[in-house]
């Protein structure tokens, strides 16, 4: 299934989202993480069999524009709420990975009526001095795979890490990566603790936390923090690393579907 891509402007075009969409059913909005180079993935492919999946790229990433007009996480969350209006969505299942989990949780906390159910995969947004999450924004390419993947030698990890063939493509990929990380850095630099812990009690949507038991980027201890702050949040710990949904797209998508239905 090829997702359909379109540009959805808000604020008279000051911010424009590139939104990938596929599938039919109840609306599900997916928020990307830092190291998802492509906006689409087998995990989303699978979810699109049951849901109308909308995957907007963050402003400043992969064709979405206007990040320079956004001041902070609050402003970003307002922009996403306005995007839901523009997409004609009253309430949706919100799913996000790492930074995307943070974005989804912010939206669910600020606008509880917009979130039907919330699925957070190794979400960012809380901070513990004794267990800092890895500084994924700055890790050099040769140090990343060992942190992101449970098995850096796996086929999925290899496919992810393989550099493009030509020098031009390599250069373009590097600039693309810097632009993507730069856009996201704006909302989490230098420490990804921007007040979410004071807002999470507002979340009303039933919440599922998904975590890889070998997550070296975002330690599993954070799961407790999330569970403590979102009442009734369920936790599923799966064999896997930080890139759980890309390591086991079928198994994780199945869990998400079970939780949503």
């Amino acid at each position: 299934m090829r997702p359909e891509g379109r540009t959805v402007p808000i604020r008279s075009g000051a911010v424009a989202f590139r939104v990938l969409a596929a599938g039919h059913g109840a609306p599900l909005v997916y928020f990307h993480s830092i190291h998802e180079r492509e906006g689409w993935s087998p995990f989303l492919e699978r979810l699109a069999n049951r849901y109308a999946v909308h995957a907007p790229l963050h402003p400043g990433v992969g064709g979405s524009t206007g990040v320079e007009t956004l001041e902070d996480v609050f402003d970003l969350t307002l922009a996403y709420e306005e995007l839901l209006d523009a997409l004609g969505i009253d309430a949706a299942h919100l799913v996000g990975h790492f930074f995307g989990g943070m974005a989804a949780a912010e939206l669910a906390a600020l606008f509880p009526e917009r979130a039907r159910r919330l699925v957070l995969v190794s979400p960012l947004g809380l901070w513990r001095d004794d267990a800092p999450s890895e500084d994924l924004l700055i890790l050099p390419a040769d140090e990343l795979p060992a942190v992101l993947w449970r098995d850096p030698g796996s086929e999925a990890a290899h496919r992810w890490a393989a550099p493009p063939e030509s020098d031009e493509e390599k250069e373009a990929a590097l600039i693309d990566s810097i632009a993507r990380r730069s856009a996201i850095a704006k909302f989490i630099w230098p420490i990804p603790d921007k007040g979410l812990r004071k807002r999470l009690h507002r979340v009303q949507a039933p919440t599922l936390l998904l975590w890889g038991d070998a997550d070296r980027a975002n330690p599993v201890v954070y799961a407790e923090e999330w569970q403590r702050r979102i009442k009734g949040a369920a936790l599923k710990l799966l064999p896997g690393g930080h890139m759980l949904i890309h390591e086991s797209p079928d198994a994780t998508a199945r869990l998400v579907e079970e939780f949503l239905s």
Binding site: P140, E143, I175, I178, R181, A185, K186
Partner: protein, 403 residues
């Protein structure tokens, strides 16, 4: 031609195996390596060297700002500049500079620079760097995506604080001050000359040119590599239709002078090696936070000065490599004169800054290098660029500070 003596104030006592054992000289270099007793003496050594440079006839003395950095022990260059105002009387005090976005509110810079201008009786050059990514994004935690916007806004605030006659309100995106009214005001009118140290950002060339400031390229990789950057600056000047006065430009060059070429290698190699091996050993992850440079600049292909490039350079370990690449101009007075003239002419630089204290160089050797440079080299480059007027020199510093 103006010649300035530049000091980085490096910690000289990093262990021999530093670069094998530690990933970075900057940001997370452990301060268990720092000996306060030794460092206290170093500051006085460094100030002695700067003061000696004035006596030797240098036109200006340059200090700069770094944080979490074992090769730059000057988180506050203003303190060093203040100390210099008391023991010097002729040389320009060139503070290169205060990284505006790091000060909250940035009015602090307007105030301290005004104090320095008064203390030095009008000898201050006000340098406003954006600041390196290591300093600003990592050591000071400023978000890379907004760093430049903060910098430009802070610059506007400082310049207005120096030039507007009335008390005014400043309603910025990053700084809001209801009553801007700094006491004291600088001595130089309308304001001290402004020099902008840059690392090759397209935006900085254009902005500097537009505002008619001096652009300084503080490179550790010498005049041969620096040419592309300075050419870029001069092209920006030409696009704006401004004149090609060489005093619009400054450039930093590492220089070692000895009686003979062979003697230069014997005296200086280990210290130059210390600088490139240890002082430029910055972990790639710290070399540049994402967003520190704009996509527009990334597309020009200029690489950061530290990180993987520096690592490659560290593999070229020999004295001839340092020299052939032009990173260091070193040798007999005749050798240095010839290459330095080429450097000045090819980059079209009116404000030459030389780094004569390099890496682990101890004071007696620094004074030797400084003395030889001042006596055997400086007089021969003084008269380059006749007929051009230096409009960016502080009014309280005499032109041509002869010995």
């Amino acid at each position: 031609m103006k010649v300035c003596f530049f000091h980085l104030m490096p910690y000289r006592f990093l262990p021999d195996d530093f670069e094998q054992r530690y990933r970075s000289v900057w940001v997370d270099v452990p301060h268990s390596l720092f000996d306060p007793e030794k460092a206290g003496r170093l500051y006085h050594e460094f100030l002695d060297e700067l003061e000696f440079a004035e006596q030797a006839g240098f036109d200006g003395l340059c200090v700069n700002e770094h944080h979490n950095n074992a090769y730059g022990l000057m988180p506050s260059p203003n303190l060093m500049a203040a100390a210099l105002t008391r023991r010097t009387s002729r040389a320009a005090i060139v503070v290169l500079g205060n990284s505006l976005a790091a000060y909250n509110p940035p009015l602090r810079v307007a105030e301290e620079f005004a104090m320095l201008d008064l203390l030095s009786q009008g000898r201050l050059v006000a340098g406003f760097p954006v600041g390196t990514s290591m300093d600003m994004n990592f050591a000071y935690g400023i978000d890379p995506a907004t760093l430049r916007a903060r910098y430009y806004e802070a610059h506007d605030l400082v310049m207005q604080a120096w030039t507007r006659p009335e008390v005014f309100a400043f309603n910025g995106r990053y700084t809001q001050v209801r009553y801007v009214n700094i006491w004291p005001q600088p001595l130089q009118k309308p304001h001290p000359p402004v020099w902008i140290p840059g690392g090759g950002s397209v935006e900085t060339w254009e902005w500097t040119a537009k505002l008619d400031y001096v652009y300084c390229y503080l490179s550790y990789y010498g005049y041969k590599r620096g040419k592309a950057t300075m050419d870029g600056f001069w092209e920006a000047i030409a696009r704006l239709g401004a004149d090609d006065n060489p005093y619009r430009a400054g450039f930093l060059q590492l220089v070692c002078v000895a009686d003979t070429d062979a003697e230069a290698e014997r005296l200086y190699f280990e210290h130059v090696h210390y600088f490139y091996q240890k002082c430029l050993n910055v972990w790639e992850g710290f070399a540049e936070a994402p967003g520190y440079r704009t996509v527009k600049t990334l597309l020009t292909g200029t690489k950061p000065q530290v990180g993987s490039l520096a690592r490659k350079i560290r593999q070229s370990l020999t004295w001839p490599t340092y020299l052939e690449s032009g990173y260091v101009i070193a040798g007999s007075p005749a050798t240095v004169r010839q290459q330095l003239t080429e450097c000045i002419r090819s980059l079209r630089v009116g404000h030459l800054m030389v780094l004569l204290q390099i890496g682990s160089m101890p004071k007696d050797l620094v004074l030797h290098n400084t003395r030889l440079f001042a006596r055997e080299v400086m007089p021969h480059v003084r008269d380059l660029w006749p007929g051009y007027k230096d409009r960016w020199w502080p009014s309280g510093a005499p032109a041509g500070n002869g010995p």
